[in-house]
């Protein structure tokens, strides 16, 4: 593999098919965005449910989070791919990937959101209640906007993991970056070095700026706002 990376001939063969990789990279980006949107929506809904005063929504949220967090993502992806047709839901591999990854990270984001909500002092929801805000309005206008600031770093962490985990699509046969790389390398020319190196670089280019930004934001928050920083530290401790 190392010789291949140093061999111009291998690179020329690889570069001839460059557009295939670019297109698959586009799929990975698209899947990441769609899965992230789904994960955020699920995370907010189930995160809010798990702070409810009522037992039912709390237990439903708990069941979702525990079921997802304690089984492998790969298993979940297979189940979605193989089981959904039986209940009449036909989806392409890429769509299944979006759902599997979105639902998986939704559970983790729900925990982040829950910890964030619980870090907001009780006085905030009491003030909102005393003004006549309903539970949902209180969440929307008072609690969640304050939560965002504190949970942004663990949320960015989840985004990075989500991007990497979209590679699960390769296992169920969707043509994302991971699958295209593996396919291309193992069929035909047997050139492994350049495609896998480039594949890694492309994932890195997506994830590194995000995680760097998240870390910088966190450092700034801890320096500027000692209260928020303290809450963040507690949340991270709880989630780890």
């Amino acid at each position: 593999m190392i010789e291949q990376i140093l061999s111009p001939a291998c690179w020329l063969v690889f570069l001839a098919d460059w557009h295939l990789f670019l297109q698959a990279f586009g799929v990975t980006v698209m899947v990441s965005i769609a899965a992230l949107a789904l994960a955020l929506a699920l995370g907010v809904v189930f995160g809010v449910m798990s702070t409810s005063h009522f037992l039912l929504p709390r237990n439903v949220a708990r069941a979702y989070v525990e079921a997802i967090q304690n089984t492998p993502l790969v298993l979940q992806a297979y189940v979605f791919y193989l089981a959904l047709p039986y209940i009449g839901v036909m989806m392409g591999q890429v769509s299944v990937g979006i759902f599997a990854v979105g639902i998986y990270h939704g559970a983790y984001i729900a925990e982040v959101v829950r910890a964030g909500i619980q870090s907001i002092p009780r006085g905030q929801s009491e003030a909102a209640a005393s003004q006549g805000f309903t539970y949902v309005q209180t969440m929307r206008w008072v609690i969640l906007p304050q939560t965002v600031k504190i949970i942004l770093p663990p949320l960015v962490n989840q985004m990075v993991n989500l991007i990497k985990n979209t590679s699960v699509i390769a296992l169920i046969g969707g043509t994302d970056l991971m699958n295209r790389t593996n396919d291309w390398a193992t069929s035909g020319a047997s050139i492994y070095g350049p495609p896998f190196l480039v594949c890694g670089v492309l994932y890195f280019l997506l994830c590194f700026p995000l995680s760097t930004w998240g870390r910088r934001y966190e450092e700034k928050l801890k320096k500027k706002d000692s209260h928020a920083g303290e809450e963040l530290r507690k949340i991270e401790e709880e989630l780890s």
């Binding site: 006085g123 209640a129 006549g132 309903t134 008072v142």
Partner: protein, 241 residues
């Protein structure tokens, strides 16, 4: 206006209110005093549904306050000022003052801002409209909280120890605003406080609570000149030195 009928409230096995009967008249300035743990705060918190009685009834304008209707009933009838201010830290002063009017009362943004500016003037903080709460002193934050309560334009304002968390130097600026409000005939005020000078100045009626019940009630003159119960005298003796 507000009526509490045989209100009991327990937290776990601890009974905080042991049968409170109380009627607050429209426009009345009622001051509740008593040692800590006597149930004063719980009593006012029952008046806006922050606590729901374990047994007994709370009526506002002859409508019973329940778990079901509390949000709507409270929205249109009462506001509260808290010991810890509880301003919304992610919003500016103006944002704090206009959130409920815009989101709950359907006012336009500019209309809500006009009202907010008016009440900021009442509490003497016009120049802080665009500041964030964290940049204000405790006294200033509490005055903003009072302005926020006023912006809902409800007939009842509840004060739960509004000066207890303040530095001694800033207590007076908050009390001054409250004295000014007490001059408004159509605002009903229920105030839990340890500020006896203030109580004497503004109260139409004073209630002394001890151990979850109302032990004594009367005019400020009655209270500070010749209280009936030994327990009341004891308490006032301690607090007035």
């Amino acid at each position: 206006m507000i009526r509490l009928s045989n209100v009991h409230k327990s937290f776990g096995s601890h009974e905080v209110l042991k049968g409170v009967n109380l009627e607050v008249r429209e426009g009345e300035k009622l001051v509740i005093i008593g040692p800590s743990g006597s149930g004063k705060s719980t009593t006012v918190r029952c008046m806006n549904g922050l606590e729901i009685p374990t047994s007994g009834h709370v009526f506002i304008d002859n409508v019973e306050l329940t778990r079901k209707n509390r949000i709507e009933l409270v929205r249109n009838t009462s506001s509260m000022v808290f010991q810890q201010f509880n301003l919304y830290p992610h919003l500016t002063v103006m944002g704090n003052l206009t959130l409920a009017p815009v989101k709950l009362f359907g006012k336009s943004k500019s209309e809500a801002q006009d009202i907010a500016r008016h009440y900021l003037e009442v509490v003497g903080l016009e120049e802080k409209a665009h500041a964030y709460p964290a940049t204000l002193s405790g006294g200033q934050q509490q005055r903003v909280a009072i302005a926020r309560a006023l912006c809902s334009q409800t007939k009842i304002i509840l004060f739960d120890e509004p000066t207890s968390a303040l530095d001694p130097e800033t207590v007076q600026e908050v009390l001054n605003v409250m004295v000014k409000l007490a001059g408004e005939k159509n605002i009903t005020m229920v105030i839990v406080t340890h500020e006896m000078g203030f109580a004497r100045e503004v109260a139409d009626r004073v209630i002394f609570m001890d151990d979850g019940t109302i032990l004594e009630e009367g005019t400020p003159e009655h209270f500070f000149v010749s209280p009936t119960h030994e327990r009341t005298r004891q308490f006032l003796g301690k607090i007035l030195h």
